[in-house]
């Protein structure tokens, strides 16, 4: 299945992916209204400064440990996509404790949120990918061996 892959060789550390993510998941039609004067809580986050930067979002693992560890049963994997039911989550952060990629962080309300590939918002395709100026983030099918 298609997943989001990042290639730090081309990451510019511009952080646009974070803003595009926050906007895409805001449900608002205007980026300015969605993000102006607000602290953003993106589901993809850029690590590093200067020479080495890369964006990290959910890897949608084949065998996701977050799903197994969620104390509320709020995380599940359907059709290859690891999703979170924010209605059930109580913000205990156990998923943060177990995710080996550091790919999850709570939202503004303290409840967990995660990359769900923009499948349920208005984007239809991951906003981080479409907005990346240097194709450092791609959405594609890759094989296990790659």
């Amino acid at each position: 299945m298609k997943r989001v892959y990042v290639n730090e060789e081309w990451c510019l550390g511009c952080h646009l992916c974070e803003y595009n993510c926050a906007y895409a998941n805001s449900g608002l039609k205007d980026m300015v209204v969605a993000l102006k004067d607000k602290k953003i809580f993106p589901r993809i986050r850029v690590e590093g400064e200067d020479r080495i930067t890369f964006a990290v979002s959910c890897r949608h693992c084949t065998d996701p440990i977050c799903v197994k560890s969620c104390i509320a049963g709020a995380i599940s994997k359907r059709d290859g996509v690891v999703r979170i039911d924010r209605n059930k989550c109580v913000g205990c952060l156990t998923c943060v404790l177990v995710c080996p990629y550091g790919a999850l962080a709570p939202g503004e309300d303290g409840i967990m949120q995660k990359c769900e590939l923009c499948l349920d918002n208005a984007c239809g395709a991951p906003a981080c990918v479409t907005g990346c100026p240097n194709r450092a983030i791609v959405y594609e099918e890759r094989s296990e061996t790659q």
Binding site: C14, H15, Y19, N20, V32, L35, D37, R135
Partner: protein, 501 residues
């Protein structure tokens, strides 16, 4: 200096209603124009550092930015214009030669824009390139002047080495060092995909790019940087650079700051040493000397590679070309005075050389008159901006065109003309790793391929309109051109009639 005489050229206009303070502009500006004010919680800028490269404008996700020309102005004066005065201030400040980048921006005549193309009506039907075959392939190299037969009476088919191009365009010389690794990678990959050639410039050939050799012109210039036997044999052709349109009569200077890492290794000179290409080739003072170099290079490559001699378009270009055509060279490349550069003295760039249109017409005519046109192919460069310019150049007698500025624009260049600073925000004219990585060759090469594919479509469209289905049939076909707004002398040199004639 206590007083700054020059008011910043540009203003950064930020629409605070739109700015979300994402700081992308700050992170992307190598000139450090933008910064975030913690106290005020807003983005602010120091426009004095802005070079108007438009990187921030392009990346701003809310389109909150624009860069405008400052309207702070000196009193109008047709003789002492603003730029002239500012240059005086700069020199009074620094004591130095003014440096500039990219091509001559002065309002000198662009003859391409005064030449119009013919189309077929009624008696000679146009051809629809979507329905009919249309040939855009050209071959560069020496052509036999007559048919020769062997003792058995059969035609001798061996031609001197030729360069095959899928369309009459090549990417012209830009050295690794003046432009980045990723820019070179983009050019090399695009040339390979397109079936055309790119040119190493005088910077040697990075070891990673030997695999694109079939689509590479390797250059030998006065500094001989990066030249060795494998290098000469790596390419599809060898170019001897005698001159450059942007700076005829002078050499090159790549500052030591850019001679780092792979650039130093590829050029075969120590790190941090200035790469100074002398004005002349110190072994060439005559056509005979040039002939020696041409044949030295042919000898080194078993006579398998065509040799191109590149010269700047200067006053006696026709006579010079005549000499080159007799030197054994296979191709003459003529670079007009509007050609680009990574850095040139401003006065030279803006005042030396002649328009390539006139040079081309003069050279083609001279070589025909002397019966040696078939000795060489002609390639022209120096601001070929579109498919129409290519068509006009071919009709004036060119076999192919060199494009560089258009290719750089495709890669993201916004012609801010500050290549010499080494802080190219688009990852092109820089060696800073954090900036170089901004040009992903996957994107860059695809954009170059797009550009050339578009040009090829346009070339076929225009050819079809003229009722011509092969680019070879257009070459030197000046009847297809008419001048507009040109005087008798200009028309005479161009060898075309005036519109309406």
């Amino acid at each position: 200096m206590g007083v700054e005489f020059i008011y910043p050229e540009f203003e950064v206009v930020r629409n605070y209603d739109r700015c979300i303070a994402c700081r992308v502009c700050e992170r992307q500006c190598a000139n450090e124009v933008h910064f975030y004010s913690e106290e005020r919680g807003v983005m602010i800028s120091d426009e004095a550092k802005c070079v108007d490269c438009q990187r921030c404008v392009s990346l701003c996700p809310t389109r909150a930015l624009k860069i405008v020309k400052s309207d702070s102005t000196l009193r109008e004066n047709a003789n002492w214009q603003n730029d002239t005065i500012k240059e005086i201030y700069k020199q009074a400040n620094s004591g130095g030669v003014l440096l500039s980048s990219m091509g001559n921006p002065k309002p000198l005549p662009v003859y391409w824009d005064k030449i119009l193309i013919n189309a077929s009506q009624v008696t000679n039907p146009p051809i629809d390139p979507l329905r009919e075959p249309m040939e855009t392939q050209v071959f560069l190299g020496k052509k036999p002047s007559r048919i020769e037969r062997g003792k058995d009476g059969k035609i001798k088919c061996e031609l001197p080495p030729q360069i095959a191009l899928s369309l009459p365009v090549m990417f012209s010389a830009m050295s690794y060092g003046s432009i980045s690794y990723n820019a070179h990678a983009s050019l090399a990959r695009a040339a390979t995909e397109l079936g055309i050639l790119y040119n190493t410039g005088e910077g040697g050939l990075h070891e990673d790019f030997y695999k694109y050799g079939k689509n590479t012109v390797v250059q030998v210039a006065s500094g001989r940087f990066g030249v060795h036997e494998d290098y000469l044999n790596a390419g599809a052709a060898i170019e001897i650079k005698m001159g450059q349109g942007a700076k005829p009569g002078i050499g090159g200077h790549l500052p030591g700051a850019k001679i780092v890492g792979d650039v130093s290794r590829t050029r075969m000179i120590p790190e941090r040493s200035d790469a100074i290409s002398p004005a002349p080739h110190h072994d060439i003072y005559s056509i005979e000397d040039l002939r020696q170099l041409v044949f030295s290079l042919k000898e080194a490559t078993q006579y398998k590679k065509p040799v191109i001699v590149k010269v700047a378009a200067v006053h006696n270009i026709a006579a010079i070309a005549s000499g080159i055509a007799r030197s054994g060279a296979d191709v003459i490349a003529i670079d007009g005075f509007r050609g680009g550069t990574g850095a040139a003295p401003t006065r030279i760039r803006d005042n030396v050389g002649i328009p390539v249109e006139l040079a081309l017409a003069a050279v083609d005519k001279r070589l025909r008159d002397e019966g040696i046109r078939g000795n060489v192919s002609l390639v022209v460069g120096g601001s070929i901006r579109s498919a129409a310019d290519v068509i006009k150049a071919v009709a004036l007698g060119a076999d192919a065109c060199y494009v560089a500025t258009a290719a750089l624009l495709a890669l993201g260049c916004h012609l801010c003309r500050t290549c010499q600073s080494g802080k190219c925000n688009w990852g092109i004219a820089t060696q800073r790793p954090d900036l170089v990585k901004r040009l992903n060759p996957d994107i860059g090469s695809a954009r170059l391929v797009n550009l050339m594919t578009a040009w090829r479509h346009e070339i076929m469209e225009i050819m079809g309109g003229m009722g011509i289905n092969s680019i070879e049939a257009l070459r030197g076909n000046r009847l297809m051109l008419r001048g507009v707004g040109l005087n008798e002398k200009e028309l005479e040199i161009l060898g075309i009639s005036h519109a309406g004639e």
